[in-house]
């Protein structure tokens, strides 16, 4: 079902994305000079603080006007402006490559939009696919030039493999060099979704969870006797779907979503629900903005 050749976006949408910027709730340290305030002090034009001179300090930073007034040496510290590393985590397990419209395609587009916004504000973007097997990762692109490898990578993320969300999340958390805004696009259809989210929140990422479900999952249109085959190769299940069972399903789905939302709010995770029947453009321009993820 992977529509590899389909373009992710229309050009007009990209122009709209240019006007958006990622919001972070707190300053985060980066590696290279960028456009984001860093918790570190550095060499921008923005004043941050004074501090008494100690031996070994760069004498170029002494504020001579202050010395003239107080006859003591003070260093004038400036706010450092560094780049941010945006972590895009894409759940491409079997369950995601399903639905009409396809959930994986939706996740690709959300990740691409998010990544493009980040790139246009000179941030570093790393993309990781969370399926089992050899880790698929785009190590880090920066600047608008990086949009092409980003889109290219996203378009080529394969779907359909099984996977353990928790294990891959753990691996990612251990390997990530620095923290930053983290976007997780997943359907969380994994018995260990809680552990996975808990693992991610062990490091101070600023996590945004885009919970993607297809309309066929929200309102299953089955009636009669079926054998349900798990897309990730799990145990199949025989059901006799009638209204009562569908009502139960609906109830469980609601409970499950409420549980996720509660779990996320308890750990400072920004939870955004996405129904793939809503066009990606509307979702990004309206929902993400509304939830304070982009500006």
């Amino acid at each position: 079902m992977t529509t590899t050749q389909a373009p992710l976006f229309a050009p007009t949408f990209l122009r709209k994305l240019d006007r958006l910027a990622l919001l972070t709730r707190r300053a985060m340290a980066g590696e290279m000079q960028g456009e984001r305030r860093s918790p570190r002090r550095g060499s921008s034009v923005e004043f941050a603080d004074f501090r008494p001179y100690t031996r070994g300090d760069d004498i170029r930073q002494i504020d001579w006007n202050l010395y003239a007034r107080m006859e003591r040496f003070f260093l004038k510290l400036m706010v450092a402006e560094e780049e941010l590393t945006i972590h895009l985590l894409l759940d491409n397990t079997g369950s995601m490559d399903w639905g009409e419209p396809n959930k994986l395609m939706y996740a690709r587009r959300v990740a691409a939009a998010f990544g493009y916004i980040a790139l246009s504000s000179l941030d570093r973007v790393t993309v990781t696919a969370l399926a089992a097997g050899p880790a698929q990762q785009l190590p880090g692109v920066r600047g608008k030039r990086g949009a092409f490898p980003l889109f290219d990578f996203l378009q080529n993320v394969p779907g359909g493999a099984g996977g353990n969300l928790q294990a891959t999340a753990k691996r990612y958390v251990q390997a990530a060099r620095n923290t930053g805004p983290l976007l997780l696009c997943s359907d969380l259809l994994d018995p260990e979704w809680k552990e996975a989210l808990r693992t991610l929140s062990t490091r101070p990422f600023e996590i945004t969870l885009v919970h993607i479900l297809a309309p066929q999952e929200l309102r299953p249109d089955i009636d009669g006797d079926f054998r349900l085959l798990d897309a990730e190769g799990g145990a199949s299940l025989e059901i006799t779907a009638d209204l009562e069972v569908l009502r139960q399903y609906d109830e469980h789905l609601r409970e499950w979503r409420a549980e996720i939302e509660q779990f996320c709010s308890g750990r400072g995770i920004n939870y955004i629900f996405a129904d793939t029947s809503v066009p990606v453009e509307d979702f990004v321009l309206a929902n993400l903005r509304q939830r304070g993820v982009v500006r």
Partner: protein, 637 residues
């Protein structure tokens, strides 16, 4: 339980596995790939935890289909029970509808139970079987003859109404049935009765199997067995008698009503088989008396005979003309008869001016006038021939031989001790029936000709010892009752079913007879008689004669059951009917009937089919229910 068509079970063996195979094929459920069974697992776990039969539910359709198949196959195999019933193809049903069948120990009465039994027999009739329905008791009626139309048979059986009068004589019915069955092989006669019938032993052997279906359980019954109201010195004497026909002593309250007002009540305790009577003086203006037996223990099985009626005969004396050279016996005997006023006319009288309505009876004792008077005639030793009979001589010392049978004139009369010196030899016309035969000629003949009733006694009373016998007043009373209906000893007492015949004058234009239930009958006047034969209901009948608009006479008649044979209601377990096969007793409880019940199985199969369809469509039904709920919630809100 046995099967008529056991081969049909094989179809079940064939179709059953096909259903199972098809179900197994269908059981390969449609496969549907879903993103994850993660959410579904929780649902299935919940649903199965909430309803333990959920696991069964997936098989419920198969089970229902197999049940449906089982029922249909069983129905095809035509199972039946052996019941008491019939086995033949030509069935003749005789239903007893006599008074004793009105006992309330059936469902609700014996007759209803008998009808039910008859309907069951019709149901057991083989497909090409024919049935005849005969209702016995009173007049025998052949309701349906050799019909295969079940609806017609059922309608005929249902239409049978009880007959209070006429007794229960199955002889004509059985004779008819025997004649019908002799034409057809495999005939069976079913007698549905309580067995209280006249003995059938003397019948010629019946050429068919006779089965007897006894009806009824209880035998407790106390009846009002006699009732009369006679003029007396102070007014009237009312006599009521209750007889216990049950097997145990019974206690009853006898309520006496005079002109529909409660007069007195008596507590009676009567030994089985015994009777107890109440004699009470009542005022002379009382026209009508009724006795009711009230059973406080509700053990009386036959309410029909718990009521009796008597009407007053006071002041309604009938004039009887007596032409006699002087007959002390006759004068005394007639004067003792209630309601009779005797006018003695000289023997020389040649013309009679009074009409038949004024003088309904003339007694010609040893005299035959040149012109016979109008009305009914009672000849005693007629000296010469008349238009009705011829006198051809004399018989000396004739012996009296009453003709067999129960002639009304000989009721309670015993003539065996009567000796006659000499009698006239009489040759009556064809109108007459011989009541008492003698050597050389009939001694007593009776009959009806041109609307006139005539009785001829062949010997002079002075030439016999009859007047000094107890038989004389009884015979006289019977003869006067016969000749003057509505008078005599049993004044205005009639048995149910007996036609009410009124002798009316030619000046009478209309006769109205009011029945106990209030209906009014105006019988046609023919030959100076008005006859109402619909006298099956018990109670007091009022007959009124009109001249134009003017009421000229009113008579009351009490119709009472007073039939000891019908009041004995103890059901008989066996019935003796001689049969060609040598059997002397009708078979009672041989289990030869086949009660098929495939219809019930088929009906059950239909129900299962509906249930199966509902189960199959349960989603649609639940959807409709949900729609209904939301609609109601919306309209309520």
């Amino acid at each position: 339980m046995s099967l008529l068509a056991p081969l049909a079970l094989i179809s079940g063996l064939i179709i059953g596995p096909i259903i199972v195979a098809m179900y197994l094929l269908k059981l390969r459920r449609e496969e549907r790939r879903v993103s994850s069974t993660f959410l579904w697992q929780r649902v299935v776990r919940d649903v199965e935890a909430n309803a333990p039969w959920q696991k069964l539910r997936r098989n419920i359709l198969l089970l229902l289909q197999l049940l449906l198949l089982l029922l249909l196959v069983l129905a095809l195999a035509r199972p039946f029970f052996r019941t008491t019933g019939i086995a033949g193809r030509n069935l003749i049903i005789i239903i007893d509808r006599s008074a004793s069948m009105s006992a309330t120990d059936g469902a609700p009465t014996r007759l209803d139970a008998a009808k039910q039994q008859a309907l069951t027999l019709i149901g057991q009739l083989p497909d090409d079987g024919r049935a005849t329905v005969i209702a016995a008791g009173g007049q025998t009626e052949n309701l349906v003859s050799a019909s295969t139309d079940r609806r017609q048979l059922r309608a005929a059986i249902t239409s049978i109404q009880p007959r209070t009068g006429g007794g229960s004589d199955l002889t004509p019915a059985l004779t008819l049935a025997a004649a019908l069955s002799s034409r057809e092989a495999e005939s069976e006669i079913a007698i549905i009765s309580d067995g209280n019938v006249r003995p059938l032993d003397t019948l010629p052997p019946v050429p068919a199997t006779v089965r007897y279906f006894p009806i009824g359980q209880r035998s407790a019954n106390v009846a009002v067995s006699a009732m009369a109201m006679q003029p007396s010195a102070a007014g009237q004497t009312l006599f009521a008698q209750a007889t216990n026909d049950g097997p145990e002593a019974a206690t009853r309250r006898l309520d006496l009503y005079l002109d529909d007002q409660l007069f007195n009540a008596y507590n009676l305790t009567i030994a089985p088989g015994a009777d107890q009577s109440v004699v009470v003086e009542v005022p002379s203006q009382v026209r009508k008396a009724e006795a009711r037996l009230v059973d406080e223990t509700a053990s009386d099985a036959l309410p029909l005979d718990d009521r009796g009626w008597a009407v007053s005969t006071l002041g309604e004396a009938t004039t009887v003309r007596l032409l006699s050279p002087g007959n002390r016996f006759l004068e005394v005997g007639l004067s003792r008869l209630p309601g009779i006023k005797v006018t003695v006319v000289p023997t020389s009288t040649a013309t009679f001016t009074e009409s038949a309505a004024q003088v309904p009876l003339t007694i010609l004792d040893g005299i035959v006038p040149p012109t016979l008077p109008p009305g009914n005639l009672f000849f005693i030793a007629p000296p010469r021939s008349t238009e009705f009979f011829s006198v051809t001589g004399q018989v000396d010392f004739p012996t009296l031989r009453p003709t067999p049978g129960d002639d009304r004139l000989l009721r309670n009369v015993k003539l065996s001790d009567v000796s006659v010196l000499k009698a006239n030899r009489i040759q009556p016309g064809t109108w007459a029936r011989t009541v008492v035969d003698g050597d050389g000629g009939p001694m007593l003949v009776a009959g009806e000709r041109d609307g006139r009733r005539i009785v001829v006694l062949a010997f002079d009373l002075h030439n016999s010892d009859l007047p000094v016998q107890i038989a004389f007043p009884l015979l006289l009373s019977n003869i006067v009752s016969e000749l003057v209906p509505g008078s005599g000893a049993d004044t205005a007492q009639l048995a149910p079913g007996q036609p009410l015949a009124l002798l009316v004058d030619s000046s009478i234009t209309t006769v109205r007879i009011t029945h106990p239930d209030g209906t009014v009958v105006t019988p046609e006047l023919r030959n100076g008689q008005a006859i109402d034969s619909a006298t099956d209901a018990l109670g007091v009948y009022i007959a009124e004669q009109f001249q134009g608009e003017k009421l000229v006479a009113r008579q009351r008649y009490a119709i009472n059951l007073f039939d000891a044979a019908e009041s004995k209601i103890a059901p008989q377990a066996a019935l003796n009917v001689p049969q060609v096969s040598g059997l002397q007793q009708a078979t009672t409880s041989e289990r030869v009937g086949r009660q098929e019940f495939w219809r019930w199985l088929a009906a059950l199969a239909l129900v299962v089919l509906i249930v199966e369809w509902l189960v199959y469509q349960r989603n649609g039904i639940a959807y409709l229910r949900q729609r209904w709920r939301t609609w109601r919630a919306r309209t309520a809100g």
